[in-house]
């Protein structure tokens, strides 16, 4: 399993953003699944395993990105998470701190994004307990 590409679940309700981010990440060599909503993301999480969840904070509902993450973490406690947000608020920051979620400010510097992704994946990998892959 170590040779396979890392799998990233990308969630954003803006189609253009979703598409372009997917392209960028795939170009980088990741396997990316892009979904336009939190619900779709939740479904995807049930069906597949992912190494990283990269989501916009504001999806169809306010802070739904966070809720998504909560549920994702229940299933996959060790999954790396990055939230994209337009503004920081103390509530979000606290939550992110607690759960070990990385926050990135939109609009992002692409290089910063890529760096953060790589970092997150590496650290998750290093701390990961060996887990049987889902079928």
């Amino acid at each position: 399993m170590t040779d396979t590409k890392k799998r990233i679940l990308l969630v954003d309700d803006e189609p253009a953003v979703l598409l372009t981010y997917r392209m960028i990440l795939e170009k980088q060599g990741y396997a990316v699944v892009g979904v336009p909503s939190a619900r779709a993301a939740a479904d995807a999480l049930l069906q597949q395993r992912f190494d990283l969840l990269l989501s916009d904070l504001a999806l169809e509902e306010v802070d739904s990105g966070l809720k998504l993450l909560e549920s994702a973490r229940q299933e996959h406690p060790d999954m790396a998470c990055i939230l994209l947000t337009g503004y920081l608020s103390s509530g979000i920051v606290e939550e992110a701190e607690r759960r070990g979620i990385t926050l990135l400010l939109k609009p992002t510097e692409t290089s910063e994004l890529l760096e953060t992704v790589a970092l997150k994946l590496r650290s998750a990998y290093e701390h990961q307990d060996p887990q049987p892959a889902r079928p």
Binding site: S90, E94, T102, K106, P107
Partner: protein
């Protein structure tokens, strides 16, 4: 002894010129003159009588005390015989008494035997009257009277009416023996007369001698009295020459033994002054007084006297000179002068105090705020017009209830202050202002004034109508709120815009990224431009998004909480960049404003700091309370970094829009926005920087009074 032939001449005084009698007189006179005391005279007389040839004679004296006549000296007389001549002046009929009564000699023929006695009376008689009668020109001196108008020896009469001298009286009895009276009497008579004269003279001399002695004693006593007087006493004659002066006077008017020139002059001067004074006083006839200042020749100081002079009169009533007593009034005078000086000083002080009071009153009246001065018992003693409008008259009770209530409130306040231990106090009083007919909140500032002993003397209170100030503050606050609102509105607009723009922008940026290596080399510059410009837009949008949220809400802001929030927001990023964060937050007063805007300001500064630093840099955040120059309170925030710094030429314009240190990366808006936000809250932002060292931003927010 020559026994000259003598003729008896009856009742006729021995005349002069008869050779026998002259001789007798002369001889007797000589002997009698040699006598020292009058007591010796009778003895000498009897001897002379015997010398004339008579064998028996006696001298009977009158005792003026008792009136007795008795022989005191006798020659050849038996006791028996002598006894016959003892009698009393008051006896009825005795030859001796008869003789004394008549003051004429007589011949006594008595009893058996050829005894015939010649009796001669001796009394005090003289041609020359006494000195006193001469002085007073009176003719009735005893001596003269006895001579010229003999009235017989009567005791009461034998005192000189003028000089008080008491006379004497005696009878000489001579036994004629066998001599014939006619012959014997002549020489005897002559002898008696001479004896009488000399006896009288002697008597007079002795009298005056005694008198002189008595007078001498009296003078000595008077002198002592004079000397004992502490005041100078001077007796002067009619030419103002000093006859007599006591020791106190000598101090001023007499030259001491070894005398310096100064002292000699002093004495001279004193004498001159004294004479001058006497001359001026001599005009009057009764006691008069004059002030005289002399120089004490011994001490060398001035001595002030009141000279009281009176004329001295002789026995005849004529002026003989002046007696002057000098009363030392130096102390009195000095005391009087001091009293006067003190009085003047008091008056001057009073005047000065009155002027001060007037000036104070004027100042108080022109201040324009109610001022109340109270004493240590918290009772008003001075109030200006305005204070009286509020609290009623100083001394009397106010009449209307509103004023009474005001007064009560003020009394409570000032009493508490008066008895407190603080020197100053300020407080607030809600009083009814009759001019504006409304309740006004007054800011009261009071201070204490202490007396010399450190006890509370007065309190001074100034009341300040805060409504005007309040109004101003209110206006300012409102304006600021308006600004905040405006900004918020604009922010909201910008934010909304940004938000809308954000997503497409994200996509565009991503596309640019994706395209960059798909483009042909000659199109690279274009690509580059696309990328950078897009990046700029991204950053602008980013800053705008910070303003998006409803940042218009104004409320209480805990600055330290905001700082901590911001720090928390960026902790991850700071860690990632390996920037060490140091925050030292001291207590700051609560501010009024928009927390979102505060947050934006701080976030901006933090981001700027982060961007300027390399990994390993330090970010310092500090807050504390400071005092402004005008005494107001400020909340100060410091954001300092160890980054690249801002070049000096840019420092001035760094807060202007579209000025950036980040080159193309910067929007140039960040600090401009920050300054606007800071300004919204009435604050001030300053920057200090050194290239290569770092930058410090300092923001002061005024504490708005709630």
């Amino acid at each position: 002894m020559a026994t000259a032939q003598m003729h008896l001449q009856q009742a006729k005084p021995a005349g002069r010129g008869e050779p026998g009698t002259d001789l007798v007189r002369a001889r007797a006179a000589l002997r009698l003159l040699e006598v020292e005391r009058s007591e010796e005279i009778p003895g000498v007389l009897l001897e002379e009588i015997v010398g004339l040839g008579f064998s028996r004679a006696l001298y009977a004296e009158v005792d003026f005390e008792s009136g007795q006549v008795r022989p005191s000296v006798s020659i050849g007389c038996s006791r028996q015989l002598q006894q016959r001549f003892v009698t009393s002046l008051y006896a009825a009929d005795h030859p001796v008494v008869n003789v004394l009564r008549s003051l004429e000699p007589s011949l006594l023929e008595n009893g058996p035997g050829p005894r015939r006695f010649y009796l001669y009376p001796l009394v005090f008689r003289s041609i020359n009257p006494c000195w006193e009668s001469q002085r007073e020109s009176r003719p009735d001196c005893l001596a003269v009277e006895n001579l010229q108008h003999p009235r017989g020896l009567r005791l009461p009469d034998q005192v000189c009416r003028i000089c008080d001298m008491r006379g004497f009286g005696a009878v000489v009895a001579v036994d004629l023996g066998r001599q014939q009276p006619a012959a014997a009497i002549g020489p005897l008579r002559a002898l008696m007369e001479v004896t009488n004269i000399l006896l009288s003279r002697r008597f007079k001399v002795e009298h005056y001698f005694n008198r002189m002695r008595e007078m001498d004693t009296a003078i000595g006593q008077l002198r002592m009295v004079m000397e004992s007087m502490p005041d100078p006493v001077i007796l002067t004659d009619n030419q103002h020459r000093v006859i007599l002066q006591n020791r106190s006077a000598e101090r001023f008017f007499k030259l001491p033994e070894q005398v310096s020139e100064g002292r000699a002059r002093a004495v001279e001067l004193n004498n001159l002054l004294f004479s001058a004074m006497l001359s001026s006083l001599a005009m009057g006839s009764t006691e008069a007084s004059r002030d005289l200042t002399l120089i004490d020749a011994i001490e060398g100081e001035e001595a002030m006297f009141e000279a009281v002079s009176a004329p001295t009169l002789g026995g005849d009533g004529r002026r003989t000179g002046m007696i002057t007593v000098m009363r030392d009034v130096g102390d009195l005078r000095r005391a009087d002068q001091e009293l006067r000086a003190n009085y003047e000083r008091l008056r001057a002080t009073e005047e000065a105090a009155r002027q001060e009071r007037d000036r104070l009153g004027l100042i108080i009246e022109t201040v324009g705020d109610p001022i109340v001065v109270c004493d240590q018992g918290a009772r008003p003693v001075l109030m200006d017009r305005l204070a009286q409008r509020l609290l009623g008259p100083t001394d009397a009770a106010a009449s209307d209830p509103a004023t009474l209530q005001n007064r009560a409130k003020f009394d409570a306040y000032i009493t508490a202050f008066s008895f407190s231990f603080t020197d100053r106090q300020s407080g607030k009083l809600q009083l009814y202002n009759p001019d504006s007919e409304s309740e006004v909140e007054y800011d009261v500032r009071s201070g204490k004034i202490y007396d010399q002993r450190g006890q509370l003397a007065y309190t001074v209170s100034v009341l300040h109508d805060l409504t005007a100030v309040r109004k101003l503050e209110q206006l300012r606050l409102e304006r600021r709120m308006l600004e905040i609102e405006k900004f918020a509105a604009i922010g909201r607009l910008a934010g909304t815009l940004a938000h809308e723009v954000n997503n497409p922008l994200e996509a565009i940026k991503n596309c640019a990224y994706l395209l960059q290596d798909r483009v042909q080399p000659d199109a690279q510059p274009v690509m580059e431009m696309l990328r950078s410009e897009t990046g700029r837009v991204v950053r602008i949008v980013r800053q705008m998004l910070g303003l998006y949220r409803d940042s218009g809400q104004v409320g209480n802001v805990e600055l330290n909480a905001v700082v901590e929030e911001v720090v928390q927001l960026y902790t991850q990023q700071l860690d990632r960049k390996r920037i060490r964060l140091e925050s030292k937050l001291k207590p700051v007063p609560v501010l009024v404003g928009s927390s979102d805007q505060f947050r934006h300001v701080l976030s901006n500064l933090v981001v700027n700091a982060m961007d300027s630093m390399e990994p390993g840099g330090r970010l310092l955040m500090r807050t504390r309370e400071v005092r402004a120059a005008d005494g107001g309170r400020l909340a100060r925030v410091l954001v300092a970094d160890t980054g690249q710094g801002i070049p000096r030429e840019m420092l001035e314009s760094v807060f202007e829009p579209f000025v950036s240190t980040k080159g193309e990366r910067g929007t140039g808006l960040g600090l401009w926005i920050v300054r606007s936000l800071v300004g919204n809250h009435g604050g001030k932002i300053r920057v200090r920087s050194r290239t290569g060292k770092g930058t410090v931003f300092k923001i002061d927010f005024p504490v708005v009074r709630p």
